[in-house]
Symmetry: C2
Amino acid sequence: MRILPFAFAVVFGCWAQSFEGQASSQTDAAALSLMPVPASVTPGSGQFLVTGQFSVTLAGFSEPRLLRARQRFMDTLGRETGIPFFPDAPGATGGMEVNTMGPSAAVQELGEDESYHLEVTSQGIRLSAPNPLGAMHGLQTVLQLVHVTPQGFAMPAVTIDDKPRFPWRGLMIDSGRHFMPLPVVLRNLDAMEAVKLNVMHWHLSEDQGFRVESKVFPLLQQKGSDGLFYTQEEIRRTIEYARDRGIRVVPEFDMPGHATAWFVGYPNLASGKGPYQIERHWGVFDPAMDPTRESTFQFLNTFFGEMTALFPDHYFHVGGDECNGKEWDASPRIQAFMKQHGLKDDAALQAYFSGRVQKLVAARHKIMEGWDEVLQPDTPKDVVIQSWRGRDSLLAAAQRGYRGLLSNGYYIDLNQPAAEHYLVDPIGDIGDKLTAEQKASILGGEATMWSEFTTGEIVDSRIWPRTAAIAERFWSPESVRDVESMYRRMAITGRKLEAYGITSKATSEFMLERMSGDQNPVALRVLASVVQPPRGYTRGGLKDYTSLTPLNSLVDAVPPESETGREFGLLCERIAAGNASPADWQRAHNWLMLWRDNDAHLQPLLGQSEITAELIPVSMSVRQTAEIGLRTLDLLRETGTFPTASSQAKDLAFLADAQKPQAALLQMVAPGVETLVKAEKLAGGSEPR
Amino acid sequence: MRILPFAFAVVFGCWAQSFEGQASSQTDAAALSLMPVPASVTPGSGQFLVTGQFSVTLAGFSEPRLLRARQRFMDTLGRETGIPFFPDAPGATGGMEVNTMGPSAAVQELGEDESYHLEVTSQGIRLSAPNPLGAMHGLQTVLQLVHVTPQGFAMPAVTIDDKPRFPWRGLMIDSGRHFMPLPVVLRNLDAMEAVKLNVMHWHLSEDQGFRVESKVFPLLQQKGSDGLFYTQEEIRRTIEYARDRGIRVVPEFDMPGHATAWFVGYPNLASGKGPYQIERHWGVFDPAMDPTRESTFQFLNTFFGEMTALFPDHYFHVGGDECNGKEWDASPRIQAFMKQHGLKDDAALQAYFSGRVQKLVAARHKIMEGWDEVLQPDTPKDVVIQSWRGRDSLLAAAQRGYRGLLSNGYYIDLNQPAAEHYLVDPIGDIGDKLTAEQKASILGGEATMWSEFTTGEIVDSRIWPRTAAIAERFWSPESVRDVESMYRRMAITGRKLEAYGITSKATSEFMLERMSGDQNPVALRVLASVVQPPRGYTRGGLKDYTSLTPLNSLVDAVPPESETGREFGLLCERIAAGNASPADWQRAHNWLMLWRDNDAHLQPLLGQSEITAELIPVSMSVRQTAEIGLRTLDLLRETGTFPTASSQAKDLAFLADAQKPQAALLQMVAPGVETLVKAEKLAGGSEPR
């Protein structure tokens, strides 16, 4: 009989790499799979076994939040292990003590002590911290230490002294462009806690939607949200939920641009004539608040009064980015105002607006935060600058004495490899140009999850696990920069996050089934494993996306970075450099066969669903690429020769074409095969004969 | 190079069968994949396309519940399709009208009209119903009609007239033995709605736990629940949630036996001396309420007052099952009471108890429901008998004029094939012995999810999708009995239920990863696909289970019925009967190779986790079984001969052994291979040469 050449072993091989090497050694921090890596780790000997009799005692300072943290810890430990814990039942033997010295601030403050000290021995676990923030971080470290062993679930003996490098470690969630339902926000707070992030920056208003209930100006949400907004009760609940996890909630109300949704209900706030509609497209739009009317500032003053009371954090973000000034330019009244007040251009008018806004914010006892654009010559020194433009902008601000946050480099919506984000440092090479004090003014950074191309359904897979790598950048020592270690630990962290309720994997699988209808999704899954979205906002410019466009295609279902594609690329590099093992050659061959032959299984199905029809050329391109790969691999290995120049040129031309986006997807087999075609070594590392 | 003989195509083959044939024909009700099958279906021509402009208009009677049902419908449709709907945005074109004639009862009643009429044409959808119950059922049918086509998501044109066969279609959830957290209960209500079940029977007290907050007798939950109970606010929320889905909530407080947890806080209720502890083992235990003291009935009277106010349903379940009477036998005081009142045995004493309890329940204007045992000579005629003992018991009750429900045959905790439950009819062959009126007294049935071997984590996979088959039995015409059609539609329904929040598949995958630690779970997944739990409560008697035993092993992670095992069995039957196609032979061969070779991948991993170590002999048994299968298959096909008698005897002896439980698992390759070894036809259906 014919053995079908789909090597199932390929699937084994495909996974094995991301899982292997784990249990081998626990002599350093990275080997423990902790993420973020703690400041200091000293391995001990032996391990602590987790049994159903395990329980946690709280000592020292206590508060309801710590009791809830303990309960949450036990619940998560139960999910991680499947062990039922009855901490109040007779027979519980304890095992862990958490000693908290004192309280943290009533409203969590920037720069509070977040350190903890943890000792795990075979006899028990002792965690101590100056305040509940450190205690909660320590609990998360303990959960990450748990793994299954031949003796059962256990934690390795270890002593950890830990504290963060930066005090502001944020994730920005954009609920403005696509609304993020409350459960999505809450489970992302769970995941943030797991990787020790401490600020949720909540982008709450946009051209496409105003997302908070205002009782003072109810038309904001009534006319500006399509009914998709958070009630004040939900906001309060979210803030409480975040505080329970050591996370501050900083709201952002973007102005004077990015504010079309406000104007649907309150057109007089705008500089143009109106009427306004909720914006359905993506980009930078003309509508802007009118800085020339006192009524604008009266409105904002009242609005700030309501919102600063709702959001207890000391910082209040007013946006300030990307106002194109076109409505100002088009208004004779505004032009007259500018002339009258000596405001020479739109930037000057925006500076005037920002200054007025800053005073209103300060009058509410809040510190204003804004994007790069809010920094003007006379900006008060306590204003915090969040840089979307880049580190130079941050450098300039720090040198002028402003505190800043880096977001440029952490735009997780742009589909960059996790390694690129990971290697961006909030200080890095600008450190040399700063005094110690100026360095300290760089508070940290924020990953930004802009939501043009994400919905509540898929946002988890856009944020996680990649943001765990960014969280490590913000928390761990600057020297922690090993990319391969990061990818290995990020994969493990990703699996743990699913136990916290993050749906990255489950949603991807669900979407593949949805795309397939009642067809078998297995072949689609093979294709899905080797494609990823192109970088940036254009998606290859292949479709005109609006907020009404369904995000239910393959590009929406796959992670921003193809793990299989990345591993295949590394494999091909080893082959091309003559460093590949026989197993590497075998795996590359099996993978290429799988991808080549998958197309025949998939093609008959793709046309049966409108959503998958666009994948017909993508699957074909993967097949053709795999054919080139197989041919090249056989040449290198079996004939011991390189491709002829003409064959190489032809293949490279095809592969260059194959690396262009199709169906808003990049197929990630082609880069590896290109490496093979350009190889300079043969099997066994020899030169050609 | 060596092509590894793991045929990936096997995985394709493994899935394809359950997915195929779907889109082929929509000329009958079953082909629409509806579950339960409606009473009457008339296919139309064309289809209705679902776009982002789709919206639903409500006409006729309206109430907040219908508005919420519409919102839920749109939310689910959004999950099913990935299409964002903005029903209130300009441009919405409608497409569907729901016309509700009038209200349903304020407290949902047994026997209310649940019918609806549905017309789908290419132009639009019209749903009409006498009341919101029918309207909500119709909405669920519409959701089941949606599937992806080359034109997009669509519903086939069709006219449906539908109503249930039985008025009582229940699922019993046992929160007593293992507590079921509130989110678990709520998502199961979502799933119940999807398949038109209308009663959640909530088993709330047991030897192992008392699960409701009592404000009058707070020691019930404080001492009897390990802190795992529902607050009254949560109960009210659940009832409201169920009512929103057309589901009644019938509480059960089991007495006089199965009540140990009550006695921990209130030992005077019991017949023995105490003190009592929460029971940690499974089974039937001695503690029982004391029927001889007036204080017992005073307690119950007060308790019923509180609970009948909390639970608005007209029916109130008081259990009554499995009281072994041992505490009564051991008490001289109780023995004296029995003599004094002429109660000749324990059954008589329990009848006395039930009679007193029934009067207390009736005084609260509720109708008592109980298990078989509550039926006594002078039981009032309105009492409803739920039969765990069997249909004979139900027959006897009906002949005496009692209304009854069947649960025997629907014990979904017993790991029977779905087909067995499906083919049990609440009336069936006892119908001949009943008058029309008596027949009508058989109200329906309930699937019972006893929770010795399930936790909140895994209960979804125990209930779903199998309970959808039972729901069809209760709703659809008696003649709907095609098992293969049921399995096909149940698989589709199972996938849809995941979109409703049911976690059967996601949890199974998560558990396999947890068992594997940081190892690759792929090989474990292959083993998982061909094993299932043994029938009944013993799990092969291999372990002493208590409520403290972790349910985190492979037996807990796999569904009660191996779909792959079932399909392989059917395949082997076709082969053995000479009806197999060449593709069947190929698939059997590929499958057997996969299972044979999987062991080599899996063995090195199994010992690395305490949870998987017990699987070492299971995986080996699968390998050896597959070897026999391959040898036999090759013999039948290639040499055109049957096994010799001695070889056959030896193989059958091995296979008989291989079908015994190991690690509380049955491996489901062996039954199919046994069929092959006993085959009486060769490839192509010929006789041996």
